[in-house]
Symmetry: C2
Subunit: 326 residues, 2 copies
DNA sequence: ATGAAAGCGCTAACAA
DNA sequence: TTGTTAGCGCTTTCAT
């Protein structure tokens, strides 16, 4: 079923059908409008959006590239993106990279072939800066910045200050030996959180003990592993975790060793993913406006796509939410 | 940059370029092949997939409609779908319905307009059966069956038997008063789990006490609420939760009342979402092969799309995994 | 081994 | 108020 067939059934030209379908019907008589609408309804006609896209040069879809939707942080981000996109009439194609640059490259190519109107992406931890040289598709980066030649949009939240705040919170609660478990150093986000941690420690006159720092990945497993490694040989009374997943893993490991949170060890996480308030004890953490970041990313992207004036960088605030793990 | 321009630069026709790009180059001399490839590389040419799709009548994309990606169950399912889709050369468009039929309808329409090659969907809890009458796009349903006129694919796992097993497990562990917290009765999955629960209770000579049954939604909040309501006025020593999210909520509520799991109350969940092994205590639950269901869904869908012989129904097994909550 | 040309289903400028 | 038509960028058949 094509527009042409509908046109024939309605005894009009395809141009007319097109006009009524797209609401460009100022110059269409109500009679024909109704007739066309009726036929469309009767036939259950669904227009071919691909043909339309080819013609109008817009697919009304945006691609989203992220490490892994199963990660609560990214699923919330994706949801924020999808909801706002839907509200603005866009669909989203989702791509998981597992922090693999090869896959990132591949998806970038595919999305462009699919002619998405724009791309929202959380870059791989170690994305080369030069990926985006001859890059035309509008794009906004979320969560992870990368240096590049072009002018890509960026939604970020400051990590250093909140990390400082988190560590400071631990110190204020009386912690003297504070560990840090996070992702590897190629991950800028992780590095920035480390900087905040360091700053707070130094400011409080505490020394940085490399033995209390474990850097692996932003995952529960990594939290377990880190806590295990550190607690085996060292005594700590506080842990600042690079994200909530790590905190959840650390929590588990701590309890398994018969230690109590927060009595023996206090923990603060980062992100405030949806599950964090439900773990035991509810996690004190730095709340990032994850869902809103997703929203803002599409706001900015659509502004760029539709060629409006845009600030290419938007910084959101993260702040401490105190629960029972500290 | 179009195929035509590449053709000019290479001094060949666009037909030739098309052939080398698509590997239909048996009759292309190696010299021209190399020349064309070189130009493509140099120019960073990216073919217009929309134009291609219009011509070949295939978009190599499949749509996935589910309640909410933020729900760990569905994010794992989505990941299973995405991974297999990627392996088979398909991209995926993701749509969240929040169990809202209106949204489901809308997305069904949009996906068809976007000419997806197929759709994978977890139907709304109360999806009307007649939605899919004049429906052409290949489709496979996951997790929730619905009666319909057409022949849609279905990936399911039996719920009754595992629910029976879960309840039986509680009984075997000595529970005499077992509550059931789950989603509402329009949700077939929930109903089937109730049937299993009932069967086990009856078989063990225990009575069904309506006061110990709380039906609301498959969410953590619902688990909190249910446990709260039930524990306020009744004494129970076991709870079978309709899914793990509910179990997590119930766990929290139980602990807040100063009760211990599993000593005072034993809990078993359903699904075995990724977080379940990390909660405290690690959750005994019915493991569904969620990721594999996603995989299988695209396997079946692609078989349908490519017109291969297919069994339109595939039933996977779920089974009990015992951890420390019982 | 290569090219010409039709056509996929739609929109929009222009004509009537 | 409605219709004619060119063309979006590609693939593919058929000629050459």
């Amino acid at each position: 079923m094509t527009i042409k067939q509908i046109a024939e059934l309605a005894n009009v030209s395809s141009a007319t059908v097109s006009k009524v379908m797209n609401g460009k019907d100022k110059n269409i008589s109500e009679a024909t409008r109704q007739r066309v609408l009726k036929i469309i309804e009767e036939e259950g006609y669904i227009p071919n959006g691909i043909a339309k896209s080819l013609k109008v040069k817009s697919t009304k879809t945006i691609g989203i590239i992220l490490p892994d939707v199963m990660n609560l942080f990214f699923s919330e981000l994706a949801r924020g993106v999808e909801d706002m996109a839907e509200a603005k009439g866009y669909s989203i194609i989702i791509c998981n990279t597992d922090n693999n640059e090869k896959k990132e490259q591949k998806y970038l190519q595919i999305l462009q072939e699919k002619m998405v109107d724009g791309i929202i992406m959380t870059a791989t931890e170690s994305s080369a800066n030069n990926i985006f040289c001859k890059f035309k598709t509008p794009m906004v980066l979320v969560d992870r910045d990368i240096d590049f030649g072009n002018k890509l949009g960026l939604i970020e939240v400051d990590n250093v200050e909140p990390a400082y705040e988190a560590t400071k919170h631990l110190i204020d609660k009386g912690c003297k030996r504070i560990a840090f478990i996070s992702s590897v150093k190629v991950n800028k986000t992780s590095v920035n959180r480390y900087i905040g941690y360091e700053k707070a420690l130094l400011e409080a006159g505490q020394t940085i003990d490399e033995n209390l720092v474990f850097l692996d990945s932003f995952s529960i497993e990594s939290g377990c592993l880190g806590a295990q490694k550190i607690l085996k040989d060292h005594k700590v009374d506080g842990i600042f975790c690079g994200n909530d997943l790590i905190a959840i893993g650390a929590l588990k490991e701590i309890k398994e060793r018969g230690l109590r949170v927060p009595e023996d060890i206090k923990i603060v996480g980062f992100d405030d993913i949806s599950i964090s308030r439900y773990v035991d004890p509810p996690l004190t953490t730095i709340k990032q406006p994850i869902y809103e970041m997703g929203n803002e990313a599409v706001n900015m992207l659509v502004d760029i796509i539709e060629a409006r004036e845009v600030d290419m960088k938007r910084t959101l605030k993260a702040c401490l939410v105190e629960r029972q793990s500290t």
